[in-house]
Symmetry: C2
Subunit: 658 residues, 2 copies
């Protein structure tokens, strides 16, 4: 123990109640329960003054730094107080908690630079920790990942997805601390103080687990010491605590979850906490220090993020590089050339050849993975269908089998991306909706992640509605910022996968199950926000705006109509978000009718994007999309049934013309 741990703990408690009262809201009691667990972790010492946690605030991206994730993000007051106790924040800064201009938000966000990942949607932090632990291991770092969980969030299934995967991968450098304070937001948790059941569950999921008194600093220190010695299993410390500990009228009391103390209550609380040394500070061990004899830290400092900061990749467009948190994430626009010059060519396809876009995706991803060691493929037991399995052939270490646990998969990707890997996350488009909340949170993490949904739309055929991605574009389109790319053939799949690879934030690539004829030659150019006009004339009576499989239906319709002397424009809007608004608006100006046709529900897809682009234009429009309850059948039957096939387009155009 450092000599002043008790002083630090009293100061943390004082700051917690002060800052929440200053803010007028917040979660003081959930913070108070974890004061000992977190202060011992950061500032405690064991034999020969060895630290449990190593972190250099001056070099937050040092790969040898340990990582701390507050999965119970509502304990943000404690989180910030810890950094203040470490000397990183000033006391007066704590008092800005929750204010508009303060980086100290109600739940930790990336606006406070040391926040590893934003939290606040419970049950996601352990998965992020799994992603970080997997990344650190892959990068040769010996650092540890510590995750603080609340007991309420143990009801979230995602926690158990993470538990299972961590044990399966023998992540012995992952340490979870569960703050079992018995009370959730509105009352007792399912298990209350039944710490033994938590222990049994964790052990059954393959973890080393132990129960400790979460307010006994020595017991906690001993538990951390044992945790650091685990050589096979991840470790969970189940800390029995009292919510509101240290302030009698808050202790184990209902009705205090999201409530700050009044000024009068604050006076009482401070009196109970006692005399505080406001100068009390702890010392964070930095990884470079290297405690002698600490075999678990022998590699500290020596570890390098070997796959990051590839200068060749950065040469052309360094300004795209996100500095600080996740450096080097934006590769160059010349990647295709570079890859080719290095003899690792992206796949090319011959016009007319029949190739499923999902196959082209797999081939492209495999090439990317060979060229860039940061590229990793995560897939939820569907890699033989999404074709992500192609990565396994040459770079098996860059493929992560995530089993059927999409929530965990998405949050693991966040953790990996934060530690410098470049995740491509795939499953059936329909099943990405399983991770909607995790994707929602990923948008706040400042990380590049590409999600890839195969089996889009009713065109998958006989498997039926449960397997059809019909809301997937809406899911990604609802984010504040995202890129949605929807290739119509193998060539465009290869190019769009490259564009996604270069994208800085959340990108989505929608692939198609069916084999489709290749439309584009190797020299075709694709860009985010682009489109290709595949048919046009001086006398187009209508414009067909399509993407993915419906591009082929539109082309067939155009050919049929051409035989009748009717010319239509066909635009492949492969970039659904951002849409090529200029081209779409030109089509609306130059043709009498715009027909959007897509294999997706009416909301949130291509039709919505076109609608927004044409806002304020009087051009007549028709939106062909999935409007009837889908079912099993052949792809052709289903496209016809939903009236999104060539015949439906022809019919619509004829109605316009005649």
């Amino acid at each position: 123990m450092t000599h002043n741990l008790a002083d630090i703990q009293r100061l943390l408690r004082t700051w917690i109640v002060e800052m929440t009262t200053a803010a007028g809201s917040g979660h003081p009691t959930s913070s108070l329960s974890a004061v000992e667990a977190m202060s011992v972790l950061l500032f405690g010492r064991w034999e020969q003054n060895k630290a449990f946690f190593h972190f250099d605030p001056a070099q937050p991206d040092n790969p040898a730094n340990d990582r701390l994730i507050f999965s119970k993000g509502h304990a943000a007051p404690l989180y910030y107080a810890l950094w203040a106790a470490a000397g990183v924040l000033e006391e007066h800064e704590l008092m800005t908690l929750r204010r508009f201009d303060s980086p100290l938000e109600g739940h930790p966000t990336r606006r406070f630079a040391l926040t590893e990942v934003p939290t606040g949607s419970l049950g996601q932090g352990l998965s992020v920790g799994v992603g970080e632990a997997l990344s650190l291991r892959a990068q040769g770092s010996d650092a540890r990942v510590f995750v603080l969980l609340g007991d309420s969030e143990m009801a979230e299934g995602q926690v158990w997805e993470a538990m299972a995967l961590a044990a399966h991968n023998h992540l012995n450098h992952l340490v979870a601390i569960v703050d079992v304070n018995r009370l959730g937001q509105r009352g007792a948790t399912m298990l209350g103080h039944d710490t033994e059941t938590y222990r049994r569950r964790a052990e059954a999921f393959g973890w080393r687990a132990e129960v400790v008194d979460g307010h006994d600093s020595d017991a906690l220190a001993a538990a951390y010491m044992r945790a650091l010695a685990s050589d096979e299993q991840p470790v969970v410390i189940i800390a029995r605590t009292i919510k509101g500990h240290g302030v009698s009228f808050l202790e184990d009391a209902q009705g205090w979850h999201g409530r700050a103390l009044t000024p009068e209550e604050l006076v009482r609380a401070r009196a109970e906490i006692g005399v505080v040394d406001r100068a009390a500070r702890g010392t964070l061990a930095v990884p470079e220090a290297g405690e002698s004899g600490d075999d678990t830290s022998s590699l500290r400092g020596a570890a390098v993020r070997k796959h990051c900061c590839d200068e060749a990749i950065l040469a052309n467009e360094a300004q795209d590089c996100v500095v600080g948190a996740a450096p080097c994430v934006a590769p160059s626009r010349n990647d295709v050339d570079r890859l080719a010059s290095e003899g690792i060519a992206l796949p090319t396809y011959t016009v007319g050849q029949e190739v499923a876009p999902r196959v082209a995706y797999g081939e492209t991803l495999a090439a990317l993975a060979r060229a860039d060691e940061r590229v990793v493929a995560l897939d939820a037991e569907t890699s033989n269908s999404t074709k992500a399995a192609a990565v396994k052939e040459y770079t098996p270490a860059q493929f992560y089998e995530m089993f059927i646990a999409e929530q965990n998969m998405a949050s693991v990707a966040v953790g990996m991306a934060r530690r410098g890997l470049r995740p491509f996350v795939s499953t059936f488009a329909a099943f990405l909706t399983r991770a909607a909340d995790q994707i929602r949170m990923a948008q706040y993490a400042d990380v590049p992640i590409t999600f890839v949904g195969s089996h889009a739309g009713v065109s998958i055929g006989a498997d039926g509605a449960s397997q059809m991605g019909l809301e997937d574009m809406a899911l990604f389109g609802a984010l504040r910022e995202s890129i949605i790319l929807y290739p119509a053939d193998a060539t465009s799949t290869a190019h769009l996968t490259m564009l996604a690879y270069r994208a800085p934030g959340i990108s989505y690539v929608r692939t198609t199950r069916a084999a489709l004829p290749v439309l584009y030659g190797a020299d075709a150019v694709f860009e985010v926000g682009g489109s290709h006009t595949l048919r046009t004339s001086a006398h187009d009576v209508a414009s067909i705006i399509a993407a993915g499989i419906t591009v082929h239906e539109a082309l067939e319709a155009a050919d049929t109509l051409a035989h009748e002397g009717i010319n239509v424009r066909v635009i492949d809007c492969y970039s659904v978000r951002p849409l090529d608004g200029a081209t779409v608006r030109a089509a609306a100006r130059e043709t009498a009718h715009v027909i959007v046709v897509e294999d997706h529900h009416a909301g949130g897809g291509l039709g919505a994007a076109v609608c927004a682009a044409l806002s304020g234009m009087a051009t007549k429009r028709t939106h062909l999309c999935v409007r009837k309850a889908p079912r099993s059948g052949t792809p052709a039957q289903l496209l016809a049934y939903e009236e999104i096939d060539a015949a439906a387009i022809v019919h619509t155009v004829r109605e316009v013309v005649y």
Copy 2:
């Protein structure tokens, strides 16, 4: 054992390979592994010829019927074959598997009338079973719920959410069967044939668990016998099986997951299965039979769905009643009057009074619950915030605490609705995205469920982005059919909650955290697809289309502008889906500019709905919505920052005018 169980099993195997080969796709091997487990359940008998499973196909909604859910929906060939063996389907019907005009889809759907719930998105079936078991218990039925799970889907966290809740509720009439066939879609599962770990996990989650040889009919029968005797705990039978069992070249073999046999392979398979008695049929025990001495079935037949088919409720609008599967779900339009006449008044509010819509929601739901015993409130540990807790005051049995497990909550609601309850499912709007895939599947279940998201938008203030519902309307708008209602005050919240109550499918009510002045008196009329024009004149220069909290900003803006002599129209589009297109289009015709203002991201909300309604109209438009990264702050600061407050509206209108 019935004398011909082995005959039935051979016939089931034959049908499975025949029907999938006829379809050209499907999952024969996943079906073959569960043949013994399911045939023993349906057709097996124990001492004194007692049945394990009781179901009357002639009365599928008999509340005394046991329920069978195939959570591993890809075993649909087995599912249909079982009903054929029970005499409900003909052999020739099986051979229509996966055809467009057949109700026998690739995964079970409600188009086959005996399908309890559609499945195919793995990991959801057990939660549905929990919902059914809770409903049956509430309704006084002694029936059991059997759920067949695959081993791959045990990686889904939702399964463990369901496990925890089932044990917590002592659902001893819930029996899960896990078909541990070791192989998933693309290879071995995480645990392979490690059945002991499955057992330990299930036991740690509070279940009675036993491992059996899943191809030993006698062992299975004994396990079912013990399962039916459980008086406290739910029971899981962990069946060790071989994928493809019964056909040597399919057994435990990779690469056969979603693949049908060729005609030549079919010949070999049939030869291995051996001579088949195509007349072999099993006998389903019907609940009325009542085996004497079977104490577990003593209440069978006597149980009634006491809360369903309330004639008073149905009197006015029987034609809205969904017949068959879920009768009596649509209450009358005169409910408000009826409730009033019964002395159970919906809450009323005084214009100008400050009431948070979430508070009005709780009060309305409590009144509904008192009036209709079928109404149940499910909440994920947030009921003191969503105000669903109000139900507990008078009708505590109609409140279900679901803890922080939104996925399970949504699927439990599906099960409850299928068994005749009327669920209202609430949590923070942001956290409903956690259940996006479950809500997606709910749309195929033909059930009425109302989801209620509180804490919508940036106006929640200091808690920050993780707690803000900014994609929630897009989530529900992406469904093929849904109703989205967004009240601006307490009165409209009460009315819109009633409208949701009467809606037949998926409805969503978006409530607001902040106290807002009441706008509407008790005589205001609200309808699905309606709106209220709150300000209008003969000289409106623009129309402000708002919903929820932005209605108040729009009114303030209109007042400010009126002082400058500028008249604007203000429309409260409380019905976001379906939108009151006629009123919106009239506004676009009659005013020069349409300004949509909403506390939601740009995609999939009110702006998208208005955009679609104004498709083809040249009226200029501005869409004010959440476009900057949200953060902590006061509600007013955040509305201003996002430029969705009165000042932003005033500014926009002035730009239009000058």
